[in-house]
């Protein structure tokens, strides 16, 4: 049988006398060290904000498919007439498959409401339970589109669903992989500006032609960037028609 020359600690055996002080120091050091590390890490994080799932909802409105599906509300128990809301699907999927055949039509939607102050959204139920055109397609509601000029904006590119409250946090570097997965699933990208433009800090992104821009922005999500482009107001929502070649990482 081998003899051990030095005291050796194992969890199930008695603690050797020579190692008691070392063990106490290790145990206290670990508890204090991890507590300090947890405090330092948590205290340097930004507030995740008040975005959250707000329960089931329904709405009727005019559907706009490009650049990403949004609904201009006509009537709803939870949204005001004229509100514009981002639509998304279940999980990390957008609503393009449900919406693509109904552009410009009056549709009825059902799902779960997402709310982060100036950004509102709905996670649709699957299939026609989530989105279907109404029988009456007559409406006097016109969707006003107004150009606000060309802007240089600084901020962060996020996915509209997580930012709206599906995730907390829905911003920041820690959320980068999640944001990219959502964007690859056709969830609408949203630019969070460092300051308000015409009263809003949240801008739906499109390319310069007003179409989806996902593939051009994947390398710049969840980090602070600057970019140029035209800003338009579509109903109640701002659309940032970003020029991808102007995107630069902020220092």
């Amino acid at each position: 049988m081998a003899k051990t020359q030095e005291p050796f600690f194992v969890g199930w055996g008695k603690v050797p006398k020579d190692l008691r002080l070392f063990l106490i120091c290790c145990a206290v050091g670990l508890v204090v060290g991890f507590a300090a590390m947890a405090y330092a890490t948590a205290s340097t994080q930004e507030d995740t904000g008040a975005g959250a799932f707000m329960g089931q909802t329904r709405a009727t409105g005019v559907l706009q498919v490009e650049p990403y599906p949004i609904l201009h509300v006509i009537s709803s128990p939870h949204f005001e007439k004229g509100d514009t809301i981002l639509l998304s699907g279940n999980g990390k999927r957008g609503a393009i498959d449900q919406a693509k055949d109904h552009d410009g039509k009056i549709v009825q939607i059902r799902g779960f409401r997402l709310d982060r102050g100036g950004l509102q959204g709905v996670q649709l139920r699957n299939g026609q339970r989530g989105l279907r055109p109404t029988e009456n397609q007559e409406t006097s509601m016109q969707i006003p589109v107004e150009s606000l000029g060309r802007w240089k904006l600084s901020g962060e590119i996020c996915d509209g669903k997580c930012l709206g409250g599906a995730m907390r946090p829905g911003t920041g570097l820690a959320h980068r992989a999640c944001a990219n997965l959502c964007l690859l699933g056709d969830v609408a990208p949203v630019f969070v500006s460092s300051g308000p433009i015409d009263g809003s800090e949240f801008l739906l992104l499109s390319n310069e032609d007003g179409q989806a821009v996902t593939q051009d922005i994947l390398d710049y999500t969840a980090i602070l960037v600057g970019a140029e482009g035209e800003v338009e107001r579509h109903g109640d929502m701002l659309v940032f028609k970003i020029s991808p070649e102007t995107i630069k990482v902020a220092q």
């Binding site: 049988m1 081998a2 051990t4 050796f8 194992v10 199930w12 055996g13 590390m37 330092a40 890490t41 340097t44 930004e46 107004e146 150009s147 606000l148 000029g149 060309r150 802007w151 240089k152 904006l153 600084s154 901020g155 962060e156 570097l173 500006s193 460092s194 300051g195 308000p196 433009i197 980090i223 602070l224 600057g226 140029e228 902020a250 220092q251």
Partner: protein
């Protein structure tokens, strides 16, 4: 069939090793019984290795010091890592981007 007999043999080895052999090989395991049933599945699978190791240790051909690091450099590398990881974490907190430092929106052209 072979596998069945292999497991039967493993059960016999496990019984002898865990009841009588372990305490003789490792003085720190003397009087400690609760953890021993946890070793049964492993012994059933690698009982030839258990016998081989027992024979070597009984003969005194090798000290029971496998807790020691096989290379001296490994100990120094562990210390370096223990120091480097907190430094990297705290340095990352200082060099990360600051949203408060972002410039405000600038209008380049008015609406046409």
């Amino acid at each position: 069939m072979i596998f069945t007999w292999y497991i039967y043999a493993g059960m016999a080895v496990a019984a002898v090793f865990l009841l009588f052999g372990l305490g003789r090989l490792d003085e720190n395991a003397q009087g400690a019984w609760v953890f021993r049933p946890l070793l049964i599945p492993g012994v059933l699978l690698i009982w030839p290795l258990v016998i081989w190791r027992c024979v070597i240790l009984w003969r005194g051909e090798e000290k029971l010091d496998r807790h020691r690091m096989p290379r001296r450099r490994q100990e120094r590398v562990a210390v370096v890592f223990a120091c480097a990881i907190p430094i990297i974490i705290f340095a990352a907190m200082f060099v990360r981007q600051d949203p408060a430092a972002l410039p405000p929106p600038i209008q380049l052209e008015a609406a046409k």
